[in-house]
Amino acid sequence: MSASTVTREATSGGRVRDAVSDGWVLTKRNLLTYLRKPDLLVFSTIQPVMFVLLFVFVFGGAIEASLPPTIPYVDFLMPGIFVQTAIFSALQTGVGLAEDVQKGLVDRFKSLPMARSAVLAGRTIADGVAITFQIVLMFIVATLVGYRFHGTPADALLAFGGAISVGYAFTWVAAYTGLALKSVEAVQAASFTLVFPLVFASSAFVPPETFPSWLQGWAELNPVSIWVDTFRELSLGDLYPSTKSISTLLWQSTAWFLAFLVLFVPLSVRRYRRT
């Protein structure tokens, strides 16, 4: 038995095929978990829905005063909510991995003749699917409270694809946190603390011109602001004046997305090998 498997391992084509198959097996496993624990998905969707209601109906009236009269607040807000939803929902990756470590599943996987990449790939891809699902749900809710995407269908594809990609990049941030802290409770607390200043001190919910100047400096550098502004530009076009051109926003968004991956994919992989 071992002889035949060894020869098959030796061909790199076989190895790639095995790695893809292993990644798929674990993606399927993680997606099944979402189906078996629908409460997890339901409650993590209710939270952003409450954010929408809170901002639109509670803060909306006050914030609208600082917006150009041409756009309703919900059209300004939703790009922020989409990016926020993607990032928050990505944090689940860390919780899931910490659970797998705690329950000894990672040890089992590491003792099997499977591709080393499969555990992280399967986890982040499944969570990427969950993020997509939540963004779609949020879009439906947003439409119900009056949100309109003003750009072309191609703009919409780019905007929503971008938000989901941001979420995917954050699954790797969460993966690193999960593997580094290994305790579900610690991961939950830590990742929220990490992500909070990124999401809230940004252009996501209110125009940053209303911030004190030191915070404006941060909000301008903040990658979340850049991602949200890109979505907003694609969604609103000329309706909302932006200081940056769409091409500048697009390349900066892409650069930040890649920077997160380039930093956190190797960090997580290294952490996983040492777990």
């Binding site: 038995m1 071992s2 498997t5 060894v6 391992e9 095995d18 198959s21 292993d22 097996v25 496993r29 099944l32 978990t33 078996r36 624990k37 329950k103 000894g104 599943l105 040890d107 089992r108 996987f109 590491k110 003792s111 099997l112 003749p113 499977m114 499969a118």
Partner: protein, 335 residues
């Protein structure tokens, strides 16, 4: 084919000042069971993790089925099965899904993975529960599923890390039956345990491990002979009388003894002279005016094996110290 299947030579793994594994040599012949016996923190799990490629040793060399644990880790993983200390099953999958997933990760075709899952479910009496989510399983069922998962790849060499820790007595007996059956089929097995009885029932040979070192090896009978047969256990009614009692009786046995000031218990290995030493002990204690709450001659426990093998407990812990030997050993390690 009498070459050993598992070989470890001078394996070391240190975490800073903690010597988790400190120069372990092991040999396991094909088709036999080695019991790695030791208390919590002795280095058993670290050793299993090294042999199953989860950890790299700092020093030394180890092979399983001829494959080096570091250089040939990928090949090695094809021929081993591991069931760790926790029942490592996915609670949100059914029993069958768990087994099929493992089969697929061994790169078996889907039909073969399904066939083996069915086989394992039948063998471990889980067929009726196959379609249920593992979350609903009892502790014993989870352990069986976990063990089953380690067999899906039909391993030549199986590693079981404390397979019965946390199980109720009935499930433990069931587990022992299953493990015995596996060995009967020719699987080579390395199992770790804290219980002498478990090693006794299941292992052909036992390696006693402490502080990351193998301190004795042999069959269960050989080890028990080294303890010196039975153990006399005396419990003093009034703890203030423990020093007096210890002074009176500790020298009676062939190999010292142990005092636990917390419980007021004195244990003395007595060899084959149990009744004679018992009589003498009672006579002396009576002369000292020490009252006893309990007296027993019993079979040696792991603690007794330790006491006898290391000879440390009695000498290292002064009677006034107020602590049992085994406990103080562990405390030292925790530092």
């Amino acid at each position: 084919m009498t070459d050993p299947v598992i070989v470890a030579e001078g394996v070391r793994k240190h975490y800073g000042p903690v010597k988790a594994v400190d120069g372990v040599d092991l040999q396991v012949r094909p088709g036999t069971v080695l019991g790695l016996l030791g208390p919590n923190g002795a280095g058993k799990t670290t050793m299993v993790r090294i042999l199953t490629t989860l950890l790299h040793p700092d020093e030394g060399r180890a092979t399983v089925a001829g494959f080096d644990v570091v250089r040939q880790a990928a090949e090695l993983r094809h021929v081993i099965g591991l069931a760790g200390q926790y029942a490592a099953v996915d609670e949100n999958l059914t029993g069958r899904e768990n087994l099929e997933m493992v089969g697929r990760l061994y790169h078996l075709p889907a039909t073969e993975a399904r066939r083996r899952a069915t086989e394992v479910l039948e063998r471990f009496d889980l067929t009726d529960a196959a379609a249920r989510i593992a979350k609903t399983y009892s502790g014993g069922m989870r352990r069986r599923l976990d063990l089953g998962a380690s067999l899906v790849g039909r391993p030549k060499v199986l590693f079981l890390d404390e397979p019965t820790t946390g199980l109720d007595p009935r499930s433990r007996l069931e587990m022992w039956d299953i493990i015995r059956e596996l060995v009967h089929d020719g699987t080579t097995l390395l199992l770790t345990t804290q219980y002498l009885e478990e090693a006794d029932r299941l292992a052909d040979s036992i390696a006693v491990i402490d502080h990351g070192r193998v301190i004795a090896e042999g069959t269960a009978d050989e080890l028990k002979t080294r303890v010196g047969g039975e153990v006399l256990a005396l419990r003093v009614a009034d703890r203030s009388e423990v020093p007096a009692a210890a002074g009176a009786v500790l020298g009676l046995g062939p190999g010292g003894g142990k005092v636990d000031n917390n419980t007021g218990e004195l244990t003395i290995p007595v060899g084959v002279d149990g009744p004679a030493i018992l009589t003498e002990a009672i006579r002396r204690l009576d002369a000292e005016g020490v009252r006893l709450a309990d007296v027993a001659l019993r079979r040696p426990t792991l603690d007794d094996v330790f006491l006898s093998l290391t000879g440390r407990a009695a000498e290292e812990v002064p009677v006034e110290d107020g602590d049992g030997g085994a406990r103080s050993r562990r405390r030292r390690k925790a530092r």
